[in-house]
């Protein structure tokens, strides 16, 4: 993707190219609508650009960003959980097939704490250890959340150990 230098903040544009889609996916999975997702992304990027620690490498930066974004989403869920809406129409707009919409709706229904684990394991192809390090939770907790999430979603094991 080309760098969007016409926009006011070049550093932001670089980071958006790197992480925009990833953060949007995480926020949509947690929050279920674009408006809240955008608000959470804004906070994540502000933290990345103004309040982040010095990163060892790109992986460190990515892991940090995933962790703070899931925390931001969880905090938003805590604050607004009674007002939050999943906008079915917005979800449908990403898909051509009703079966895909159905799968995403099933993911959206997961309890919040399983979502990050499911996302990292199945989308980012992270190992249990990587998820544990990224989210700062124990291996056993990752395994449990993965198992629960998989049970709820009825995901076939396909030769996996867990």
């Amino acid at each position: 993707m080309q760098k969007t230098s016409r926009w006011p903040n070049d550093n932001f544009s670089d980071k958006y190219v790197l992480y925009g889609n990833m953060l949007f996916r995480i926020c949509m999975i947690f929050l279920g609508n674009k408006e809240d997702a955008e608000e959470a992304m804004q906070e994540s990027f502000i933290k990345l650009m103004y309040k982040s620690p010095k990163f060892i490498d790109d992986q460190h930066e990515k892991a940090w960003l995933i962790r703070i974004t899931t925390n931001i989403c969880k905090d938003m869920l805590r604050n607004i959980w009674r007002k939050r809406v999943v906008k079915v129409g917005e979800i449908e707009s990403f898909y051509d097939r009703p079966s895909d919409t159905y799968i995403m709706e099933e993911i959206l229904k997961l309890p919040a704490k399983y979502k990050a684990v499911i996302y990292l394991y199945y989308f980012e192809d992270y190992s249990i250890k990587q998820i544990s390090e990224t989210l700062g939770i124990k291996d056993s907790t990752v395994k449990m959340r993965l198992k629960r999430g998989r049970d709820i979603l009825k995901i076939e094991l396909e030769g996996e150990e867990l």
């Binding site: 969007t4 926009w7 903040n9 932001f12 544009s13 958006y16 925009g20 889609n21 949007f24 996916r25 999975i29 947690f30 955008e38 992304m41 804004q42 990027f45 502000i46 650009m49 940090w64 962790r67 703070i68 925390n71 905090d75 869920l77 805590r78 959980w81 939050r84 809406v85 999943v86 079915v88 129409g89 990403f94 898909y95 895909d100 799968i103 995403m104 709706e105 099933e106 993911i107 959206l108 229904k109 997961l110 309890p111 919040a112 704490k113 499911i118 199945y122 989308f123 056993s140 907790t141 449990m144 629960r148 049970d151 709820i152 979603l153 009825k154 995901i155 076939e156 396909e158 996996e160």
Partner: protein, 311 residues
């Protein structure tokens, strides 16, 4: 469902240029505002300080006596009468934008119990189990009709549900998953909160503390898990003893509380029975428990003694 289905479906969610553009503008605006206003703020601060200084000198010249040290007024002048937390209503499937909550919940005896931040320490779950109440159904989604909210309807899959030793089952129930992942579910809706006793007495913290630790906001927010153990529990015990006398304020009447990130601390209190209660503290004496939509205000002296210890 196959794992590739998950990957494909998540991959189809993509942000658009509109989001990038709006975020870019907002972040740029924030950066500029900071740059533009900082000098003015500095000048304004000096002017205010000078004014305070002049007024202060005149005040003391006029009265020449100590100012009455009355207790601080609440941060926000919200209504502090008894607060009714409405019974959690499940979504109405007839609405055009179907709503549902993504938190884990269980329906039991007409009440809705939601996942709580209070944890069960590994190895303690077996000791907390009292009696099996039933098994959850995995049947709640955004299209559920009111008729679907039958006994043990849930969003958590199929799990056995138990009452918890030492706790009122009208307030707390639990599941006991594999790999030490037991979970409490609490019903703190459909209740009236006159004082902190209506919430904190249910948690059975008083005279029951085994250990405690705390965490600064920075650590909590970035999941750094930089906990500090609390060695001397005397101040904490005083604080816990005072929880029942706290006064409730509606969360919605104090909308800025969560935004004030610098003035928050978290304490984690491990109880003798193996449960761990998390309380979120806000400077000026406010306490928040889990997702209960009230802030509970404590008398300043007791609160501040604990607050000052959490360095």
């Amino acid at each position: 469902m196959k794992k590739n289905d998950i990957k494909r479906v998540i991959g189809k969610i993509e942000s658009d240029k509109g989001i990038e553009y709006r975020l870019s503008k907002k972040i740029h605006k924030k950066q500029n505002r900071k740059g533009i206003f900082m000098p003015f703020l500095s000048i304004a601060s000096i002017v205010i300080l000078v004014c305070i200084g002049i007024l202060g000198v005149n005040f003391f010249k006029k009265y020449d006596k100590p100012i009455d040290n009355t207790p601080d007024t609440p941060l926000h002048s919200a209504n502090s009468a008894a607060i009714s937390i409405p019974k959690l209503e499940l979504p109405n499937s007839s609405s055009s934008n179907a709503m549902f909550d993504m938190i884990g919940l269980i329906v039991y005896q007409g009440r809705i119990y939601t996942q709580t931040g209070t944890k069960i320490n590994p190895g303690s779950a077996e000791n907390l189990i009292e009696e099996k109440l039933g098994t959850t159904k995995d049947n709640i989604n955004e299209w559920s009709k009111q008729d679907d909210y039958v006994e043990f309807a849930s969003t958590i899959g199929v799990q056995d549900v138990y009452s918890v030793k030492g706790y009122d089952k009208n307030f707390r129930i639990m599941t006991n998953g594999e790999l030490h992942n037991a979970q409490f579910y609490e019903c703190l809706n459909g209740i009236t909160v006159k004082t902190g006793a209506d919430i904190f007495n249910k948690l059975k913290i008083e005279n029951n503390i085994k250990t405690a630790k705390y965490e600064a906001y920075e650590s909590w927010n970035y999941s750094k898990q930089q906990y500090k153990e609390m060695g001397d529990l005397k101040t904490l015990n005083n604080f816990v003893g005072e929880l029942k006398n706290t006064i409730p304020y509606k969360q919605e009447s104090m909308p800025k509380m969560f935004e004030d990130s610098e003035n928050q601390k978290f304490i984690y209190i491990s109880l003798s029975d193996g449960s761990e209660v998390q309380l979120r503290l806000f400077k000026n004496g406010y306490i928040y428990y889990d997702s209960v939509p009230v802030f509970l205000k404590m008398e300043n002296k007791v609160f501040n003694e604990l607050w000052d210890e959490l360095l």
